[in-house]
């Protein structure tokens, strides 16, 4: 890590620190409203008191860390300042909510302002840059644990529960959790069905040229149909079969269809990309076609198949929101309710869990891709 490159300024971390600093001093940190739908009154970082000023100070520290010549400690220092930013942010928001709500009527709300979002985004950028440069992962895990604990404590003792977003949650608690459950099961069921259909289709496409042309063509066309249009189009064939055009059935069908393209395509590419010499050797040694597929071709195509599944999962976690239009209670319901009521925090209550789901699905499938793939196929083998 002693290269000249790492001794220079860390541009990514510097940009992140600047973003965080801009969030602290430039945009309104919180927005207060007399009730949940009227226009808000912006409030600066001063409303957050000491934790607010601490945020600004930490952003400056992160900037110094990014600009100061690296003597080996920079990643740890930058990571510490990013973690501290993330850990103190809920306390600043809580203090801001408490301050702004003091003496206000019961309907009054305090929402998270652009400045706080920007600070969070900046801290995330610094965190990312620092963990890329850090030699050990344990530091990042420890910092993440600390931040999570700080947020939990801020809910209990820091006034974070007074924020509008949290109050929306308190009101919609039952709807929220049922929406999360519906969303996850819809995505899980659709992904499962898509794997059951898509993997055999990908295998067939890699064997027969005609199947390849037809299947890849059809799933490609499906992907280009907008999600709302697809849900509309499904009404006709379903009614011909005497099935309902609204409800979970069209939802599952739509999400399954959208999952097919990445799964079929990546299964096909993975299998078609196997070196013909390897197939020839396997056949010449007396493997049956099934043995060749299961013992040789599938393990070689596995990294791409997992990648296709990952892409499908991330895609349909988003599309599942739209399925709320046909009467399925996904997280989209909260978003549409929020739009209808012009309640920004209700929209966020639906949107944020989807972001978390997508990030978790992405990360866990990437991890799976590394964990199950043979070391012989990894690039880092020496």
């Amino acid at each position: 890590m002693g290269s000249a490159q790492s001794r220079r300024i860390d541009r990514v971390a510097a940009a992140g620190a600047l973003i965080a600093l801009a969030g602290c001093v430039w945009l309104p940190f919180a927005v207060s409203r007399a009730n949940r739908i009227v226009a808000g009154v912006p409030a600066g970082i001063g409303s957050a008191g000491a934790p607010g000023y601490a945020l600004a100070l930490l952003a400056v520290l992160a900037l110094v860390a990014a600009l100061y010549p690296d003597r080996g400690r920079r990643p740890a220092f930058a990571l510490a300042s990013a973690a501290a930013l993330a850990a103190i942010l809920p306390w600043a928001l809580g203090r801001s909510a408490v301050t702004l709500l003091a003496g206000a009527p019961a309907f009054a709300r305090v929402s998270v302002g652009g400045g706080a979002w920007l600070t969070a985004a900046g801290a995330a950028v610094v965190w990312f840059a620092a963990s890329q440069a850090a030699s050990r992962r344990t530091l990042g895990y420890a910092a993440a644990g600390l931040v999570a604990a700080s947020w939990a404590l801020a809910f209990a003792f820091g006034g974070l529960d007074r924020l509008s977003l949290v109050m929306e949650y308190a009101v919609q608690r039952d709807l929220f959790w049922s929406a999360v459950g519906t969303h996850l099961s819809l995505v899980g069921i659709s992904l499962g069905i898509a794997l059951l259909i898509g993997v055999p289709l990908g295998v067939a496409a890699s064997r027969v040229g005609l199947v390849r042309d037809v299947v890849l063509g059809v799933v490609g066309v499906i992907q280009t149909v907008p999600s709302l249009a697809l849900l509309g189009l499904l009404v006709v064939p379903l009614s011909l079969l005497g099935l309902p055009g609204i409800g979970p059935l069209p939802g599952v069908i739509a999400l399954t269809l959208y999952s097919l393209l990445p799964i079929v395509r990546d299964t096909y590419i993975g299998l078609a990309g196997v070196d013909p010499a390897i197939v020839d050797a396997g056949r010449g040694m007396g493997m049956s076609r099934l043995q060749l597929l299961l013992r040789v071709e599938a393990p070689l195509a596995l990294p791409l198949m997992i990648e296709g599944t990952r892409a499908a999962a991330v895609t349909i976690i988003g599309i599942a929101a739209v399925v709320a239009f046909v009467g399925v209670g996904t997280l989209g319901v909260l978003v549409f309710l929020g739009w209808g009521q012009q309640a920004d925090d209700l929209i966020l209550l639906g949107a944020l869990p989807m972001v978390v789901m997508a990030v978790v699905a992405d990360g866990s499938l990437r991890w799976l891709g590394r964990a199950v793939v043979s070391p012989g196929l990894r690039g880092d083998l020496r």
Binding site: A277, I278, A281, R283, G284, M285, G286, S288, V296, G376
Partner: protein, 381 residues
Amino acid sequence: MIRLENVTKRYGETLAVDSLTLDIPAGEVCVLIGPSGCGKTTTLRMMNRLIEPTSGHIFVDEADVETLRPEQLRRGLGYAIQSVGLFPHLTVGENIVTVPKLLKWDKERMAARVEELLTLVGLAPSEYEGKYPRQLSGGEAQRVGVARALAADPPVLLMDEPFGAVDPLTRQRLQAEFVRIQRDLRKTVVFVTHDVDEAIRLADRIALMRGGRLQQYATPEEILDHPANKFVHDFMGADRALKRLGRVKVSDVMRTDVPTVDSSTRAADLRSRASCAEERFLYLVDGSGRLAGWFDCADLADGGGPESAMTSVDWRESAVASDASLKEALSRMLEFGFRSIAVVDGEGRLLGDVALPTIEAALGAGDTHVAAADGQGGARP
């Protein structure tokens, strides 16, 4: 062991193999050779039914291959190809036991076989068993490919340019090891190559093909001495005499009773040995029998001191290995300007020598086992 009867393979209008009849005896190496597109690889691949013949019959061990399930047939025919085709997601050990696994051997037997085979092909089992194919050099991968083909101890090996994808030096080493392994295992080997020198070195019989037709099927000596037609003559090349030498192993013709002295020999003894020797040179070996140099007897007889009459050499440079061919021996002699050259084993121990007249005799004789001709002992720089 393998018999082809009027085998024809037609792709549309083109005849890839045209009415080929071939009988390959058990335990022999049959090299299929010819220019590209001559049908040699197609012929090989019809033997394990990777390609089905248009007409004709192929018998392996008296069984018509058509009557066997392809998978069953192939598990009994070892298969090694130029691009090796090792499975990249499996370790070297797992690659080697591919066929034993298909045959459902038990674990202990497979583990023992991996160790045995890696040792056979000259790779340290403890070091290589757990490696992945991408960690191997080209030569190592080819060795593993051969080990994999041998895994279930099939009586027949089908090899399609198995040493084709490596540098010439590695290829020569692999060829020498193939000769050594085949000497012990006596497999029936069908070996496809386009390299005439490789064919002459390895083959018991050469089947020379052109345009899907067999031009000549005979021993390398026969093909070199009596080419069936102008194509065979031209294909084998103008340096047929030299190529013949590639067939003769040094150990088959070397003189083994060479006069030697070791470093404990006293100067007086040395002088008396020199004066009564018919030889011009006395080989000097060290305590463990390794070649260290030689004395010029004429010089000693004229009263020269042992130091002035002695030439010190490194056995790695000024001798040939016993499993080298006469072609290599001659090449070394020409390089150094010697009239004879010492023969050593792998550790440098002196085994004998080969002189120019021996090589001339080998060139003249039809038999590979030429009696060692009287040669002038020793060497002259």
